[in-house]
Amino acid sequence: MTNKSSKEQVLDFLYKYATIMVIAAVILFFSIINEYFFTYSNLTEILRAISIVTLVAIGVTFSLIVNGFDMSVGSTVSLSTVVSASMMIWFQQNLLLTLLIPVILGLLVGLFNALMIVKIRIPDLLATLATLYIVKGIHLTYTSGYSIYPNMAMQDGSTAPGKLNEWFVWLGQGQIASVPVPVILMVVAVIVVHIFLNYTRHGRILYITGGNAEAARLSGIPVNRYRTLAYVLSGLFCGLAGILLAARIGTGQVDGGAPLLMDAVAAAFVGYSVFGAGKPNVIGTFLGAVLIGVLLNGLTMLNVPYYAHDIVKGTVLMAALAVTYYQLRRKAV
């Protein structure tokens, strides 16, 4: 171990710090190109923009930790978003139910995924792909394909009776000491999940389950319970992200969560390589989301059209995957 070749040492160093250096370099680059980029208002804007993605990416991270995968996160967010908006706009419900029902739906989607993956043993990718479409169909049916906004025309010709609760709107658009509320919620979520994963028994067992499920099972760990927990937590964070999405744009955007899948997966995989962790971790996921947020913000400033953004996101994901899997192969030799 001690007498590694200099090439190996360089690779190790790169693997540890390359992601951080890339993020720093990208920020530096945009700061030089555009003087507006490195201002308080723009930086908080970036954080605000990634707050929802980060929540979804935390969900993906949980599924990755148990060596699974959750493709259904995007449509779960969509479902949560339209349901939370409809609670107020269609049914004039109070804040509590508006927040509670979407979260419960998110948990149920997670539980359904877990049932299919853990009990029926469908491969995670395929099971959650099917769930993606089922949930997408459900929320489109629920809204008849229309976004939900105050004073919208209802099917029977009348106008939607309810309006958005002001506290609800505050969640998405308010500020505390000139920090946007979604940013605060994101930071709290990242910290709480980080503590959960690294300092509690359940967090440790999630990692061990993902590391070697058979060894974990043969050590008396109820592996299936923990795999279920991971998917349920993924559903929970998608439920929360959906609420935040509705609160931020003030409508229940139909299929609003779909684009988040790609961003969240990219963020979680970038997270693998942050500080050479080599495994899914929430701080890395957050920094992954930052990288994507910074890139998109900067590219918009450079007037790169929005439809080209996917090229950038896809490339970031591919690069993160390349680093992760190249490193895994190197370790295996």
Partner: protein, 508 residues
């Protein structure tokens, strides 16, 4: 006369010699048994013959001509085929029998289009000529194990096999299926095919083989004509004069019965096993590879589901529903496949040591890091694990040190029964003796120990009582005083069944 000769074959793996100047000669129309204890070098030799490995030196001569076998294709071109024990790995389940038989001739080497009628006709003709009861249009996944074997034999013949290696072909077969296979082999023999027959079952060797070559420690020790030899002679050759290792056997008072197993059964691998383990007692369960030891250990641990049977610990019934239930009852397992089942490779030494007892180091869900670390540090010292520090990833440790960690994770559970499944596999000598000492200490603490192993000498060294397994059954119980390697080998290779058959024959 047509022969296949392997001359002075040498092979090393990272400096460790696996084969030392081995000779083997097989004549056309002969069934030649290749015998040896586990690790004697049989598989390595056969892998060289089939082109899976290349030898470091030595030559292969077929019909007087030197044959350069570097790849599996070369071996096939020289008419060497192998019928592997794991038949399913060599077959495509959703294709027909005909396609599987003629796979290399038509399917992978054809002109792009398959001539179905020709394919079926050719396969039909071949199957008839061989006298196999196979329907060529049937899908392979619908076949029984022994039928699948026939498909593999037919495929070998379809590729003009002159020499066929049978690697433990009878292991998965029933008695009647075995008899059928022997008939087929006799048939092939008459057709002039040379057969290398690998098996652990000595009685069948004496039933069907013409000559026997015995290997031990990477060397050929003897080649003899079956008619002029007997089981005892073969066993002596297989075991040789072995130097006794130092086994620090402690004198421990043996207490009351802890574990009682009645009629434990699962499929063909574990059939109606009864056993008891007492406090402070080390019970060795010994048998050849494939005798059902690992399967028995996994059943006792709840890792697989038993079809029948009852297990009690201190008189209370043990729920075998899952490893968690069993662990909670006070039975723990050190599994055979360390990397796959024992350790979490990417996690640290500490996390591997504490994962089975996390609850102990947890307060309101939070892990008490200092307590956990000192517990892990304590274990590292007790076990003598050689590691740079506790946060070192366990994958970087040597096999022996990894195994100590796997054992160590159970030491804080206060369990009563320890199951060890081949705990010294892939472990260096120093760590081996540490592991024996550790097991001895557990016995001293009045734990009950079941030690599953195919290393006879090891079991002789540490066990108080020895149970010999063969074909999923415990066929013999031997006390420490009466057990010898020869006796164990005799029973492990089905010697008793052989005797009973003889008695029956003379009786009738």
């Amino acid at each position: 006369m047509a022969t296949l000769q392997m001359r002075q074959i040498q092979k090393q793996f990272s400096g460790v010699p696996a084969l030392r100047s081995v000779d083997l000669e097989v004549k056309a129309g002969e069934v030649h048994a290749l015998l040896g204890a586990n690790g004697a070098g049989k598989s390595t030799l056969m892998k060289i013959l089939t082109g899976a490995y290349t030898s470091d030196s030595g030559e292969i001569i077929i019909d007087g001509q030197k044959a350069a076998i570097q790849t599996p294709q070369d071996a096939k071109a020289h008419g060497i085929q192998c019928v592997y024990q794991e038949v399913d790995t060599a077959l495509v389940p959703y294709l027909s029998v005909a396609e599987n038989i003629l796979m290399e001739r038509h399917v992978t080497k054809g002109k792009g289009f398959l001539n179905w009628s020709k394919l079926y006709a050719e396969a039909e003709e071949l199957v008839k000529r061989l006298g196999f009861a196979l329907s060529v249009r049937q899908k392979v996944e619908e076949l029984t194990l022994s039928e699948k074997q026939l498909v593999l034999i037919a495929r070998a013949i379809a590729q003009d096999a002159k020499y066929i290696i049978f690697d433990e072909p009878t292991a998965p077969l029933s008695t009647t299926e075995c008899d059928l296979l022997f008939e087929r082999i006799a048939h092939l023999k008459q057709a002039g095919v040379g057969i290398i027959y690998i098996s652990h079952r000595l009685p069948e060797i004496f039933q069907i083989c013409d000559r026997i070559t015995v290997m031990r420690d990477g060397q050929k020790v003897a080649t003899m004509t079956t008619a002029e030899s007997n089981i005892d002679e073969v066993i002596t050759h297989m075991l040789g004069k072995t130097f006794s290792e130092e086994f620090p056997k402690l004198d421990v008072p043996i207490g009351d019965t802890l574990l009682e197993v009645q009629d434990l059964t699962r499929g063909r691998k574990v059939r109606g096993v009864d056993l008891t383990v007492r406090a402070g007692e080390i019970v060795g369960v010994v048998g050849l590879v494939g005798a059902g030891k690992t399967e028995l250990a996994r059943l006792l641990f709840g890792a697989d589901t038993a079809e029948a049977g009852k297990v009690t610990l201190r008189g209370n019934k043990v729920n075998l529903a899952s490893p968690k239930h069993v662990v909670d009852n006070g039975i723990v397992l050190v599994p055979e496949e360390r990397r796959k089942e024992g350790i979490v490779v990417d996690e640290s030494v500490k996390n591997n040591l504490t994962l089975a007892t996390l609850r102990k180091w947890t307060n309101f869900g939070f892990i008490r890091r200092r307590v956990e670390e000192s517990a892990a540090q304590d274990l590292v010292q007790r076990l003598g694990v050689k590691t740079a520090n506790l946060t070192q990833s366990i994958g970087h440790l040597s096999g022996g040190n990894q195994q100590k960690v796997v054992i160590g994770k159970w030491l804080n559970t206060e369990s009563d029964i320890f199951l060890f499944d081949e705990p010294t596999k892939g472990v260096d000598i120093g760590a081996k003796s540490d592991i024996y000492k550790l097991i001895g200490k557990l016995a001293e603490e009045q734990k009950g120990i079941l030690y599953f192993s195919c290393e006879f000498q090891e079991v002789l060294g540490i066990a108080d009582r020895i149970l010999v397994m063969c074909d999923g059954r415990i066929v013999k119980e031997l006390s420490r005083a009466e057990a010898t390697q020869e006796l164990i080998m005799y029973y492990a290779s089905g010697g008793q069944a052989h005797d009973e058959q003889k008695l029956e024959r003379t009786g009738s």
